[in-house]
Subunit: 428 residues, 2 copies
């Protein structure tokens, strides 16, 4: 008997679908009979460094629990934002780095043969470094990256698990906000701020609220192109000639021609403002808020009409109650594909999704693999040709790309009037 | 043949259930065969003054369309925030007030015999005034108030249509935010700001996220009691001794011992702040924002931990995709009851909901009537005895009151991946 043990970790920001990928890995690992133990690292690589993990093998043999896990938002195993140290270019098998040594000693102790890491760009960086260190030191452990991010900004894959559910929440919320915005017979501007620091995929998904008979949002601003405040005001003025209630979708990350975020502009205008702030996270990403609020104030000052801004906030990444069935099923499949890849002795790869068509010409997704070195730390943005020439809307090509990803509704179990999600008290 | 014509209007802020009441009125009116025409005033009493209305009779004979209407958020007929002039105490049948004369002349022209107005406190004020003016001038038109408000602050009724759906959205979102908040192994405070200017019913509904195995939110602050910032900080400090991630629900309307809203306090602390503002609406209500943001800054300054505030915003009143089945069914029944009341020659009344029990001891709602003079302009707040002695949670009695109102899920029709709501282009 040459039984293996595997470990799974989750990292980065949550999505509604990341536990579906976890469930996919567990399911395929158990089904394969290749593994004696399936471990889950608590709080990703950071928790692993503190020797915190769970044995998932026995509980998840119960298919009901596995299905419940797949329909629970955020991370059942907890997350981290931990960046492993760089491995020098000239590193050899004599190069010893403390964090890596600790991780590999835990792997050795638990006889880990396969490690699956579910996450976004930063998590793929971790997979890349671990597989590089393993190769340097002759370790046979397989490292597989399982993508997820609501931002849809991972390279080498048609789209990312988690994006479709976020897009469905954003499109549905936008539709409901449109209904809310049109009830009064007075001029109004409603600005909806959508997540997406550098990539506008999720903001673009607000256009899906037009899928039936609505025509709003009326303006859509993505961070891939320069945000010009004068053109913005001009567009509103033009729209007011034919309609009363204007609804605008704007990415949190739009920038002016100098590359400044809008709330930085607000900073310059009023250095005493304390209700907005710019910070950076451990990966050096700027954490910013207030784009919608800044625009709200500018619009109100210019048009004097009823103006409001709405930040969709963290529900974009955790609103399981309106998840995309397509997304959840694909996320599960991506998890399964990771186990298949590992059992085929792959390592240092990320599972990718390729778009194809059925014989009837409808959308179909196939999984594939990509060298992790080619995808880690590369951000995939919305192609400029998918943004309208006026820079305030998306093209039909982008709509057609987005459309299949939000299809289908997930039937959740409700108990006592609220969704019956997995208990996560073990994260306390 | 003594056929009657009726008219329906909607007013005030939207809810997910207000079109269910509209569908209930239309359904019962058509079923009764008492009416030749069922009209809908566009933009409530304000639109009626401009002679804007629709004939709803023929289209809504289609049961599929009627069902679709009942599952469409916000107001199909549009809304207004229009306050009718006061009728002097000493008014007689000789007292002529322009707005009323115009309204009654339109009623006469259309042979309106029954008028149904669906709305909150301010709309009941309109029903009260119209029925008073009618009585003064010998008009035989019946005026019936159909309650709705997510705030649940109408007097004389156990609860209000629309509240249950808002409560279900708030409880579900809170549950998902809890999952989102617990994933990192670092101290954090998450503050969720909930709508409810003077009444804390909706903020209290965040406690429903505890219905299964969660224990959060950890602190709940209602506007019915004084908000003490020092006790607030003390409670967080105490909680941090036993847990890492603290989740707090706070009503937008909490006030300090001097009756000041928190963002007014922020104004005093920093008079250069421009990103928050205080305004009043046509009814003299203060429109304020920023309570969560103000607390976020105070907590961050005091504890130095990861702190964020989340404003649930307008989705609280329009998120049909997570509406309460109980609420939608009851809202429909309340609409039906309004027609029954009118056909029984009632006028100047509001339909109320009375809580009772089935023989098996489970929750059951019965409709009843109340004199509109006794309910208009009276705000029903959360009883102090339903707030915990520490003033930072609710009691079991309040939980038991809330619990039945969020039961059941609504099966929406989806088309192209988003809900298939009624077209509201006629409001453009």
């Amino acid at each position: 008997m040459n039984l293996r043990n595997c470990m799974i970790g989750q990292s980065g920001g949550p999505t509604a679908a990341i536990n579906a990928s976890l469930a996919g890995v567990i399911s395929k690992a158990l089904e394969s009979n290749a593994f004696e133990h399936v471990y889950g690292a608590i709080n990703g690589i950071e928790g692993l460094l503190e020797n915190r993990y769970l044995d998932l093998t026995t509980p998840f043999k119960d298919p009901i629990l596995l299905s419940k896990l797949a329909k629970t938002p955020a991370m059942y195993l907890g997350s981290c934002r931990y960046k492993l140290p760089q491995i020098p270019e000239n590193a050899t098998n004599l190069t010893v780095i403390k964090e890596y040594e600790l991780i590999f000693s835990i792997f050795k102790e638990l006889n880990i043969t396969d490690f699956f890491y579910i996450g976004g760009n930063d998590s793929m960086d971790t997979v890349m470094k671990l597989s590089k260190y393993a190769k340097l030191h002759g370790s046979q452990i397989h490292f597989i990256g399982v993508p997820k991010t609501i931002d849809n900004d991972l390279d080498g894959t048609d789209h990312t698990p988690g994006f479709g559910s976020a897009a469905k929440f954003v499109a549905t919320s936008m539709l409901e906000i449109i209904h809310d915005s049109m009830i009064y017979n007075t001029k109004s501007v409603t600005i909806v701020e959508v997540m997406g620091r550098n990539a506008g995929w999720l903001t673009a998904a607000t256009a899906l609220s037009r899928s039936n008979h609505q025509t709003s949002p009326d303006l859509i601003y993505l961070p891939e192109v320069v945000f010009d405040i004068h053109q913005f005001l001009q567009s509103i003025e033009t729209l007011f000639k034919t309609r009363r209630n204007i609804i605008i979708a704007v990415s949190e990350g739009v920038r002016d021609k100098n590359g400044n975020f809008l709330e930085e502009e607000a900073f310059c205008q009023d250095e005493n403002t304390t209700l907005s702030s710019s910070k950076t996270d451990v990966f050096g990403h700027v954490i910013h808020d207030g784009t919608g609020k800044v625009l709200e104030n500018i619009v109100r000052n210019n048009f004097g009409c009823k103006t409001r801004s709405i930040e969709l906030n963290v529900l974009q990444r955790c609103a399981m109650h309106i998840a995309s069935k397509t997304d959840l099923e694909e996320s599960f499949e991506v998890g399964e594909a990771a186990v298949c890849a590992s059992l085929s002795s792959k390592s240092g790869v990320m599972i990718t999704m390729q778009r194809t068509q059925t014989q009837e010409g409808t959308y179909k997704m196939l999984t594939s693999l990509k060298d992790i070195n080619l995808v880690a730390n590369v951000e995939k943005k919305v192609p400029i040709e998918w943004i309208s020439p006026q820079r305030n809307d998306i093209t039909k090509e982008l709509y057609d790309y987005l459309y299949p990803l939000v299809q289908g509704e997930v039937q959740l179990e409700y108990k006592n009037g609220v969704p019956d999600y997995m208990d996560i008290q073990h994260l306390l």
